[in-house]
């Protein structure tokens, strides 16, 4: 199998370039991450992040044949050759396939992704009905791999001012939580020309999410909530 991989070493390279690699068939590689680990045996300077190798940690997000995804859950047989691997778009490249996600995490922190509830903590837990709990399905599963935000044109143009789909999905996750008491404050913080409203429902985020979540739909729900409070 033929691979073309984006290479950049800040110490030696003035500019990034694509390097060709070849893996003979029958090495037993099933997922793209397996292949990457085999390629790393050929050239141990190749750098990429990976950890759980089963789509839970979100470390090995990259641009695979033009589309963001997780190498560990992308089956090799679905990929056209040469398999072209590039770093996540729009983020500063630290080295090879490793990008600097500081901006992405800053935007995540911006939505205060934790439960805000001033009531005294109950002895066991804050109860929810099964229905209330069900509203969090499709929201809490996000692994913060950044596939969605780095596929979003609005995030490419304004990564410092638009929060991006991943952060906004988490904003909705806490707005939708029956136990959270900071709804008004959260909505106030999102009422802004950039933070939320740079979203033009392009839906690249939903298209690309390796966990099958729907950030675009979540942003729609936030807009509806903002709308309801002025009507």
């Amino acid at each position: 199998m033929k691979f073309r991989i984006y290479r950049y070493n800040p110490q030696t390279d003035a500019k990034p370039y694509l390097q060709d690699f070849e893996l003979e068939d029958g090495h037993g590689a099933v997922m793209l991450l397996d292949a990457l680990l085999l390629i790393k045996r050929q050239d141990d300077s190749l750098s990429f992040r990976r950890s759980c190798r089963e789509g839970v940690c979100g470390s090995d997000a990259m641009n695979i044949n033009g589309r963001n995804g997780l190498a560990c859950i992308t089956p090799l047989h679905t990929l056209a050759e040469p398999v072209t691997l590039r770093p996540l778009p729009g983020m500063p490249v630290i080295r090879d396939l490793i990008v600097d996600l500081s901006q992405f995490y800053r935007q995540y922190r911006e939505v205060r992704p934790w439960l805000i509830n001033d009531d005294p903590e109950p002895e066991i837990e804050r109860l929810q009905t099964p229905e209330e709990r069900a509203r969090l399905d499709g929201l809490y599963e996000c692994i913060l791999c950044a596939c969605c935000s780095t596929a979003c044109p609005s995030f490419w143009w304004n990564p410092d001012r638009f929060l991006g789909p991943a952060a906004l999905l988490q904003a909705w996750r806490f707005l939708a939580d029956s136990r959270d008491q900071a709804t008004g404050m959260r909505l106030d913080a999102l009422e802004d020309p950039y933070r939320l409203f740079r979203c033009h429902t392009i839906m690249n985020c939903t298209d690309v999410c390796p966990k099958g979540l729907n950030p675009s739909g979540a942003i729609g729900h936030i807009r509806q909530m903002l709308l309801k409070r002025v009507l």
Binding site: Y6, P10, R86, I202, M203, N204, T206, D207, G220
Partner: protein, 126 residues
């Protein structure tokens, strides 16, 4: 910390695959800008038709020429693309067609509806 500023950013728009919804979105934007650019033309034409009998006849005659009709079809294409993509937006605002599958289907429908209207108009006026 100097190296941080020199870090390259990968953003080759020709190599990043744009999903069909993204294609509809960028055409929605481009057609919107073009329609704004064409606004003065439409106001000018309206003004001419109201000016005098002679000007009215001249505008109508011009509109019957093949070149003008082809140009009108192009403008109709911009308009329908923008209109149908806009309707898709409004539906999605009402929670209709927001899933990945429905979003893609809606994007294809925008192209299909636009093509249908433009082809129908072409058959009628060319």
């Amino acid at each position: 910390m100097e190296s941080e500023n020199k870090r390259p950013i990968y953003l080759d728009l020709l190599k990043i695959r744009l999903p069909i919804g993204g294609v509809v979105s960028i055409i929605h934007r481009a057609s919107g800008v073009l329609l704004v650019a064409l606004l003065p033309v439409s106001v000018y034409l309206l003004q001419r038709t109201l000016e005098s009998q002679a000007a009215f006849v001249r505008v109508l005659a011009a509109v019957h020429e093949t070149f003008a009709r082809s140009a009108m079809l192009v403008v109709l294409w911009f308009f329908c693309q923008h209109l149908f993509a806009g309707i898709r937006h409004l539906l999605m605002d009402m929670d209709i067609g927001t899933s990945r599958r429905a979003g893609r289907a809606g994007a294809w429908l925008v192209f299909a509806a636009t093509a249908a209207v433009v082809l129908y108009a072409a058959a009628r006026i060319l």
